[in-house]
Symmetry: C2
């Protein structure tokens, strides 16, 4: 069955290396399962409210362009951080949106994003069910490097970020061991409340890599004395160089972010306040207390846009979950989020499914206690088995002049 | 002709993604052009002084291991930062080294590194010429991501670092453009005195990428007022999001490092001094002065060890230059540095050669004025033509469980 009209796709929230693969999946299935056009909102719902959208078929015209889209990081269509108001009858934002839907004969609304984006899908779907009763299908498609969405086994985008994190952790470990002197490298990884991505640094460890000495997640209260003593102990036991990975969001027992421990912020020559990150704060403290060389490395935005080392598994699942959202809508589903369901781990088999978006939005999935070791300073084998399949495989890069090629509007 | 005895190889200075490819080249040619063994110093000359070395043939036994070595970042044999004393007669360090050479029948000494390492080769060669008159061949093999060695067209290791810098600049530009709000991202790139690596960010620009708005090199005095006004002007002209790349070593007209502009450093809760980087300093200043969102990204050690995106050209040249050093020594050369000589740029043809190491050591090659634009805020086409061939080609990764495999001692 085909969707009888046009559909529109939007991207929202922070970019990932795989969000455009999902866009490619929605677009690809949309072309096949829609009688009308496939529109793309420019800058998410915020752009849509300005009737700012394009006909995707005019932009992505060849298979090569579709492949480039899969390999381009960040959000091709642009993004926004726009929270819809509560869906009360007659609200002007909703009325405006539904007028736009009607004007452009939009019968399918696909929104790719994280928690806030699922909230948008939920609210639109509620507003439609309660007040508009149109036949428009509202579907959410997950993405986030944080892997903190419930119901889905994992989120598209997480596997590629995890692959980058694990790869550079391996490289940083090799780098740190080069001199015959005691040193600690603190690597700061994204994750305000969930430690999935930081935990992925555990994959670095293997026959060819010593791995991280500690992995500090926001799920465990940060205890500086413990960290300091553990570093001192490992050094005493003969360790030369240690790498510690830490989530940006680690907090002390009383809820203080570690970066706030640098309480008296510095000012520059012009009196401006300077900020210090979590890794730098810990590095400075360890350096001063233990008298060893320390270094802070922030993976920063690199980790969410490193499409040059995307996981082939992630890109292909991200594409599939986009397709699945369209297929479900074409079969009459609405108010759902497409998702990934792990059927088995060995061999790794993962299929797509859908779930009521109302049971997804505004909930966060943290790393469970069973995946964190007793000392709270590393992940367990269960965690590693969960994450390992998600980083498998490399995508052939389409390079020009030695650089991965991207596509832009 | 074969070298009649054993040879020994060492690695020194900071690691790169290609220094082990050079080691592989010396080892490979060494096996073929030496009658004896191929030793590897553990931790450079410092390790050698403790007679700390291995028989490389016992470690690298298969072609796969040789390929892994080429793809492993950092220094396989470990490194040191050890400066030899002046080569005056009877100096105990030299006497000890030459005793070790004699004891282990070492007839070839190969040292892979940057400026300081070439200084080591120079001094050993002088000491030999003047006081010992042995037939040991002393050869330097260049490496440094900084590309600041004279005589050689470029340094092994630079191309891979440049490829990483250009690739992530592309990704960061895409990432920065995702929201519809004005922002500036400052990317800090290694380079204390020479801006070669920062300049390589210019390669990001192309049909599919807006590139960096400004490229700030240490060869040009840093003028904050100019940068601020230029950002304000570009924003006024309609730019939404800008990426500026900057060398860590940029200095103001009066020789002050930009990171020192954050003059009153902050202290943490325990009274420890906190440091702020160059990019963070500029980002904070722009944010406060222009009221726009800014972000600082430090590429940090990632840029020198990102073997997962090594340049195939660089790895193959690094290997070749290692081989060339051995071949030259086997033909009687000594006191030389092996080097790369560009025969033509279009098509790119590069061969190996050697040059008197005394004319290399302790000299630095900066980016010449002809490669910097008039405003001093970008590189010229001449620079781009020089760097572009060096990042060409990708190395097939030998991956296990989704991660590039390395080799360690």
């Amino acid at each position: 069955m085909k969707i009888k009209g046009n559909i529109i796709i939007g991207q929202s929230g922070g970019p990932t290396a795989a969000i455009n693969a999902t866009l490619a999946g929605v677009f690809d299935a949309g072309k096949k399962l829609t009688e009308g056009k496939v529109y793309g909102m420019l800058g998410g719902v915020e752009g849509l409210l300005q009737e700012n959208f394009i006909d995707m078929c005019e932009k992505i015209t060849t298979d090569r362009e579709l492949e480039l889209l899969k390999r381009t990081p960040s959000s091709y269509l642009g993004s926004c951080r726009f929270k819809l108001p509560e869906p009360v009858e007659g609200n002007e934002v909703y009325e405006k949106l539904f007028k736009i839907f009607e004007k452009h004969n939009i019968k399918g609304f696909f929104y790719i994003g994280g928690n806030d984006s699922m909230d948008t899908v939920k609210k639109l779907s509620i507003y439609n069910d309660e007040y508009k009763k149109t036949d428009i299908k509202f579907m959410g498609v997950p993405k986030t490097i944080d892997n903190d969405l419930v119901v889905t086994d994992h989120t598209p985008g997480f596997g590629s970020a995890a692959k980058f994190v694990a790869t550079v952790t391996k490289e940083l470990v090799r780098d740190s061991l080069v001199y015959d002197l005691k040193s600690v490298t603190i690597v700061e990884i994204m994750g305000r409340d969930a430690g999935w991505l930081t935990g992925a640094s555990a994959l670095a460890k293997g026959d060819d890599c010593e791995g991280a000495a500690m992995i500090l997640l926001p799920e465990v209260p940060f205890d500086y004395e413990y960290v300091k003593n553990r570093v001192a102990q490992l050094m005493e036991e003969g360790s030369k160089s240690l790498v510690i990975t830490v989530s940006e969001g680690v907090r002390t027992k009383d809820g203080k972010y570690v970066c706030e421990l640098g309480s008296e912020k510095g000012t520059d020559a012009f009196g401006h306040t300077m900020l210090t990150g979590t890794a730098q704060t810990i590095a400075t403290m360890l350096k001063n207390d233990l008298g060893i060389k320390t270094r802070a490395v922030e993976l920063s935005t690199l980790q969410r846009c490193a499409s040059h080392i995307a996981s082939a598994t992630d890109i292909s699942e991200s594409f599939a979950v986009g397709q699945a959202a369209v297929k479900a809508a074409s079969e009459g589903e609405t108010g759902k989020m497409a998702l990934l369901k792990r059927v088995s781990n060995n061999p790794y088999i993962c299929v797509t499914d859908t779930h009521d978006v109302r049971e997804v939005a505004n909930l966060a999935k943290e790393v469970p206690q069973s995946m964190i070791n007793e000392n709270g300073d590393y992940v367990t084998e269960e965690f590693i088995e969960y994450v390992r399949p998600l980083i498998e495989g490399e995508l052939s890069q389409l390079t020009v002049n030695g650089l991965p090629q991207h596509i832009k509007l």
